[in-house]
Symmetry: C2
Subunit: 339 residues, 2 copies
DNA sequence: GATCGGCGTTGAAACGGTTCATGGAAATCC
DNA sequence: GGATTTCCATGAACCGTTTCAACGCCGATC
């Protein structure tokens, strides 16, 4: 059942140290011995015990990634980017889903700490900086993802959400809309707040433009649907003429509620223009193809992992704040041309 | 830096055994001692080393899940179902993405074996039964997900894909279509083959109906787009009047190519009816809301984990094949009414 | 022929928890 | 009051790997 290096050593008639050397530094072992050991390994079906390995090494070869929502394709793309880079470095990514829940987030951080992961990539929900500090103090590098570190305590890879919000709102204003609504929440999520701030700055720079906030309790299709239904049921003059949703999932929900309900449906973009955020794959295939703000998701993940490996390698810890610029993608939901 | 139970024991002036007892069986320790130990733990910021724990236990508290494609919402839903159930049992789920690649699949299985995971949930790509047998022989229970075990060697949780394929094709035939095309691949994936078999049986039972196969190299939006473009560019009489896509990602790709291109675009469902598979969240929000075959994704994940825990607990290993029935969801892409 | 260096191998120590046989002290019973 | 049980606490052994000082051997060197 449990085959250990000792069994292998016995069968190959060498010492355990030699078996370990064959596994880790075969060039230090004579070819004939290597072969004998390999034969023994094959015969016994020996598989290294990673727990013992880690115990001895003091550190695992995994890195933990905590995201806000695995069902959001943006985050799965970030995850894939990170995983790809990790694989190149011979490491694995452990995925944790905080689901906008401070308790779940904490649970994952605790888990990762017990596992002595080589590093943590996190899109923080709760601003539990003390806990992150503690992780770092115990020697586990932490890189913030999709969220700029306020101070210089952590490295981070993010996209300029304020600029993104501004891009979105300016685009709506440029097409002649004046009564904007921002659909998003919870406000405790920094990305939401930043995107809103960007939109607000654009609106304030435009005389006669207004910005209304429709707060949601999560960034999901369901929540978007509810928000969209509420907007749809208003009197025409009380209705915004454009909606900026804090992400594409919300936007798709809003779109479903606005454009796909029965008799009282509204036309997008004629009655209400709509723009989302993230430019997930599905956005272009929506009922009305969705304008959006594109972020380089996979690249974010990959870059974050790069930074993490850097921090893990260097004794003196370099902090770096990498900020990507978002990009406006115009489609029909804001009157762009089909394509 | 590295605080161990020994340090805690020293500070609390007890033995290491007692510290361990406080951690694992506090009811065996006197209240005053428990308190002293907890105080020491807090003061030192002690965090259990999971590797040491696992080493001693001989088994980890994680279970591995290998899926074909993390970007497919169907699989993320399966994962969430499994993860939820795992959390209830105090376990964690390690997610591996084989991406329709036998090598990656093998790499993940090796990783999980080295980790001595408590069990493996897998949607096999390569039919590497020997490797799975070996896992099982080494004491790691294996449950097949979304794929019925041919023989009774493994437990499995699946959906009747043949029935699902038949449902889809019968629905298309019932609406008067006769020249069906099946878009899907690679054929090595059992789900693809089964869905095709179901469709074929429906077509063969209908005089005058034909079924053409358009093979793809993956079940992705991109591949769907390519297949759709190829269909669109055919002469009208050479074109199928209905498409059954092996999953919703493909279907959305086909839809994009058919309905969203420029002058030569086709109408769905008038020119070509279209049905997908999985009923992912985004299907209902597509350009033309997508008819699909619904599978209880989260329930599949949860049930698979139940089976796994069962196998892990029992000495005598009960094999069980659980098969859910799929469900037809009619939307506009096959002429159903909007809703 | 003694000395030296390098190569290949050895075996014990170490990593940090958990377990369990052992034992002492206090509580309970007759 | 002595025997028995209960309750707590102890500390060494153990899990399986990696590391490293030490060693034997062989060929090269002078």
């Amino acid at each position: 059942m449990a085959v250990s290096v000792r069994d292998v050593a016995a069968l190959a008639e060498v010492s355990v140290g030699t078996v370990s050397n064959v596994l880790n530094r075969p060039e230090k072992v004579s070819p004939t011995t290597v072969e004998r050991v390999h034969a023994a390994i094959a015969e016994l079906g020996f598989v290294r015990n990673d727990a013992a390995r880690q115990l001895r090494a003091g550190r695992s070869r995994s890195i933990g990634l905590v995201v806000l929502d695995v069902r959001n394709p943006f985050f799965t793309d970030v995850g894939r980017g990170a995983e790809e880079r990790a694989a190149e470095a011979g490491m694995t990514v452990l995925l944790g889903n905080s689901d906008d829940d401070a308790d779940r987030e904490r649970a994952y951080l605790e888990l990762f700490e017990e596992q002595r992961v080589a590093g943590v990539l996190i899109t923080p929900f709760a601003d539990d900086l003390p806990r992150l500090d503690r992780l770092r103090a115990s020697g586990i590098p932490v890189v913030l993802v999709d969220r700029e570190a306020g101070d210089a305590r952590f490295s981070s890879v993010s996209v300029d959400d304020v600029a993104g919000g501004r891009l979105a709102a300016e685009h709506l204003l440029r097409s002649g809309r004046r009564r904007l609504a921002f659909v998003g929440g919870p406000r405790s999520i920094r990305q939401v707040e930043d995107r809103l701030a960007g939109a607000r700055s654009a609106v304030e720079a435009t005389p006669g433009a207004t910005l209304e906030i429709v707060e949601t309790s999560a960034l999901t299709v369901i929540e978007g649907r509810a928000a969209g239904a509420a907007l749809r049921d208003r009197d025409e003059h009380a209705r915004p003429d454009a909606v900026f949703a804090a992400n594409d999932l919300l936007a798709m929900g809003v779109l479903q509620a606005l454009a796909m309900s029965g008799v009282d449906r509204l036309r997008v973009p004629e009655d209400i223009a709509l723009i989302g955020y993230d430019d997930i794959d599905f956005a272009s295939a929506a009922v009305v193809p969705l304008s959006s703000i594109r972020q380089p998701a996979a690249l974010i993940g990959r870059t974050a992992l790069d930074l993490l490996l850097l921090e893990a390698a260097e004794a003196v810890v370099p902090r770096e704040q990498i900020v990507f610029q978002p990009e406006l993608v115009v489609r029909e939901s804001t009157g762009g041309s089909a394509s």
